[in-house]
Structure formats: structure tokens, C-alpha cells
């Protein structure tokens, strides 16, 4: 491997074991999204990064496709420990949830048909849909501050394509992304 990225300025350097433990902790504490827990552990408790460094690293994780927190663990881990650091952080983040979910998967396959369980899950799904709506509302709020906004148009087209027309995601993405990026380039 070529030389790794310069680690952030902070004086505290986690070892591989510490990295693993930190991400295990993030993974099992992170109900409903692991980001707040990652921030608390890395910035506030361990002081491995400043808030700015954390935000910058997280911006990269969002910029990349795929699950954000997963990307974050890889970027963060590689920054401190190269490839082994990335592997250790990822294993810490995914290991415990995978074990728990495997147990739940077995239980669901066996008892998923029971009406009581099914009613509980119906309630949770209804709440989960509400959470998604709140996320969308928070993300979209800045768009409505302007009268006319190309971003809103792209969001609506993406919604119609995927939710109503049932077009495959890769087509919708490849069809919209070039235009959306071009508009963003010329704006501002």
C-alpha cells in the first residue's frame, strides 16, 4: 500500500483494538441510526477528531454511494490505521448487529406468522414510515424557502420515477444525476 493519508491533527491516536471497541459501542448504541453515537464517541469522549474533522469525514461518507455510516467507518478507520484500521472499524460496526439480526431472522422465519407479532410489527412499520417522512421534511425544508428551485424538481422526478413508475434505481440515478449536478454547478 502507498503511504496512508495524514492522520488528523489531534494528539490522541487510537490503537486497532480501541478502534474496534469504539465502533462496537457505536453499533450497539445506535438505535435508529448510528451517526449521533459516532459523533459522541469520536469527538466528545475520545477526542480522536475535532468537530470540523468529523464533519468533513462524514461529508465524504455521504458523498459516496451506499450506507453512510458504513462508509464512515471505513474512511475513519483507514485514516488512523490504513487497511487494517478500516477492516477493524467495519467489523466492529457490523459484527454485533449482524449477530443480533441473525437471531431475529431465525425467530421471524419461525414465528413471523403469529398474529400478535404481526400486529406489533405493523405498529412499528407505521412509526418507521413517520420517521422517514420527518427525515424528508427536514432535508427538504430549505428548498421551500425559495420560490422556484431546480432541486425540488429533481426530487419530485426521482420520487415519481421510483415510487410511482417503479423504474429501476440505476436508471433513475443515471438519468437524473448528470442534470442535477450540472444545475448545481451553474447555480450559486
Amino acid at each position: 500500500m502507498s503511504e496512508s493519508v495524514a492522520p488528523p491533527s489531534s494528539a490522541v491516536q487510537p490503537s486497532l483494538t480501541e478502534l474496534f471497541h469504539a465502533f462496537v459501542l457505536v453499533s450497539i448504541s445506535g438505535f435508529g441510526g448510528a451517526l449521533p453515537w459516532a459523533r459522541r464517541t469520536i469527538v466528545e469522549k475520545k477526542h480522536w477528531m475535532t468537530t470540523e474533522e468529523f464533519n468533513e469525514t462524514f461529508a465524504l461518507s455521504q458523498f459516496l454511494p451506499g450506507p453512510n455510516v458504513i462508509n464512515f467507518s471505513v474512511v475513519f478507520g483507514s485514516r488512523f490505521g490504513g487497511a487494517p484500521g478500516a477492516a477493524v472499524a467495519l467489523a466492529g460496526l457490523l459484527g454485533p448487529p449482524l449477530i443480533i439480526v441473525s437471531v431475529l431472522a431465525v425467530l421471524y422465519e419461525r414465528y413471523g406468522g403469529i398474529e400478535t407479532l404481526s400486529r406489533i410489527l405493523t405498529g412499528i412499520t407505521a412509526a418507521a414510515i413517520g420517521l422517514l417522512i420527518a427525515v424528508v421534511a427536514k432535508m427538504a425544508a430549505p428548498m421551500f424557502l425559495k420560490r422556484w428551485n431546480s432541486a425540488l424538481v429533481f426530487a419530485i422526478i426521482a420520487f415519481i420515477g421510483v415510487a410511482l413508475m417503479h423504474w429501476p434505481l440505476p436508471y433513475v440515478f443515471l438519468g437524473l444525476a448528470p442534470f442535477s449536478i450540472t444545475f448545481a454547478w451553474f447555480k450559486r
Binding site: 435508529g32 465524504l60 441473525s102 421471524y108 418507521a128 432535508m139 432541486a151 419530485i156 415510487a163 449536478i181
Partner: protein, 175 residues
């Protein structure tokens, strides 16, 4: 590609991994399209149940792909699905992380970042819509959805409490 379920899982989730802008929640419609409509691995009900289980499990939301994988092909399926969903994007993340700092403030980077936001918003909205379609619908479920949306928008409450309340309401036979 459709010969073995493991190969299908690998192919679909590896592809999805690279197009899931906005994270796991933005990829729900595509997962539903493939798992329910195209491959007939499961029905609507099972899909929305798995989403609910993934939500109340600790850890990243992407863990739903392990549930789908397990349903299709047991533990091997779970392993293949999560590896396929994380592998390509993790590899990309690893290599991009090395050059990222150089492009801090670059205009093309800002443009790509800004250009992805509307797509993420549209896709997450589509996730809510697809799940609402797949789940059991009645007036009480709709009330829970509306109440949760309002609570989550205006407060910073831990979602776990909301799920707990919604689960109890479901159990009590209101749904």
C-alpha cells in the same frame, strides 16, 4: 445470473451498493422492487416486517439486507447480501479517502454533493411511499405515522421510544 439465489443476491446488492445515494433508507424502493416484484422472494407483508425489524435492531439500517438474504438463502444468504451491499462502496470509500482532502472546496465536488441532495430526498420520500403501500393500512396505522412524523420533526426524541409506543399500540389490538 438468476441460476442460484446466492448469485442473484450478490449481483443485485452489489449493484444497489453503488447507486444508493442517501444511504440505506434511499435504497428501500429498489430493494422492494427486486425482492417482491421481480424475484418474488417475499410478499409485501414480509418486506415491511423486515424493515420494522431492522429499525428496532441496533446498528446501521442497512442491516435489513441481511434479513432479506437470510430469508432467501439462510445464513449464507445473509452473509452474501451484506457483503455485496457493503463491499463495493467500502472499497470505493477506502481509495477515495486518500485523495479527498486534496479536493476540499473544489467546485466539482461541491456540485456533485449539492446535486445528490435532491435525489436523496426524492428517494427517501419514495421509501416512505413504498413502505406505506406494502404495510397494512388502516386509520390507526395512519395516525401512528402522522404522530411519529410530527414528533420526530419537532423534537429530538430517541426513535426507540416511538417504536416502543407504536409496538404496544399494535399489540393492544388497535391495528
Amino acid at each position: 445470473m438468476n441460476d442460484s439465489p446466492l448469485t442473484s443476491l450478490l449481483g443485485y446488492f452489489a449493484l444497489l451498493s453503488l447507486f444508493a445515494v442517501g444511504g440505506a433508507n434511499a435504497a428501500i424502493p429498489e430493494m422492494h422492487r427486486v425482492a417482491v416484484d421481480v424475484m418474488h422472494w417475499m410478499n409485501d407483508r414480509q418486506f415491511s416486517d423486515m424493515y420494522a425489524i431492522a429499525q428496532v435492531s441496533p446498528g446501521p439500517n442497512v442491516i435489513i439486507v441481511a434479513l432479506i438474504g437470510y430469508h432467501v438463502a439462510g445464513f449464507a444468504g445473509a452473509g452474501v447480501a451484506i457483503t455485496a451491499m457493503c463491499g463495493p462502496t467500502c472499497t470505493l470509500a477506502f481509495f477515495v479517502a486518500r485523495t479527498w482532502d486534496r479536493f476540499k472546496g473544489a467546485r466539482w465536488r461541491m456540485a456533485i454533493q449539492a446535486g445528490m441532495v435532491p435525489l436523496s430526498i426524492g428517494l427517501i420520500a419514495a421509501s416512505a411511499f413504498v413502505l406505506a403501500h406494502a404495510a397494512d393500512r388502516n386509520v390507526y396505522a395512519a395516525l401512528i405515522t402522522a404522530a411519529t412524523a410530527a414528533v420526530a420533526f419537532f423534537t429530538r426524541i430517541n426513535p426507540l421510544w416511538v417504536f416502543l409506543a407504536a409496538g404496544v399500540l399494535g399489540l393492544s389490538g388497535w391495528l
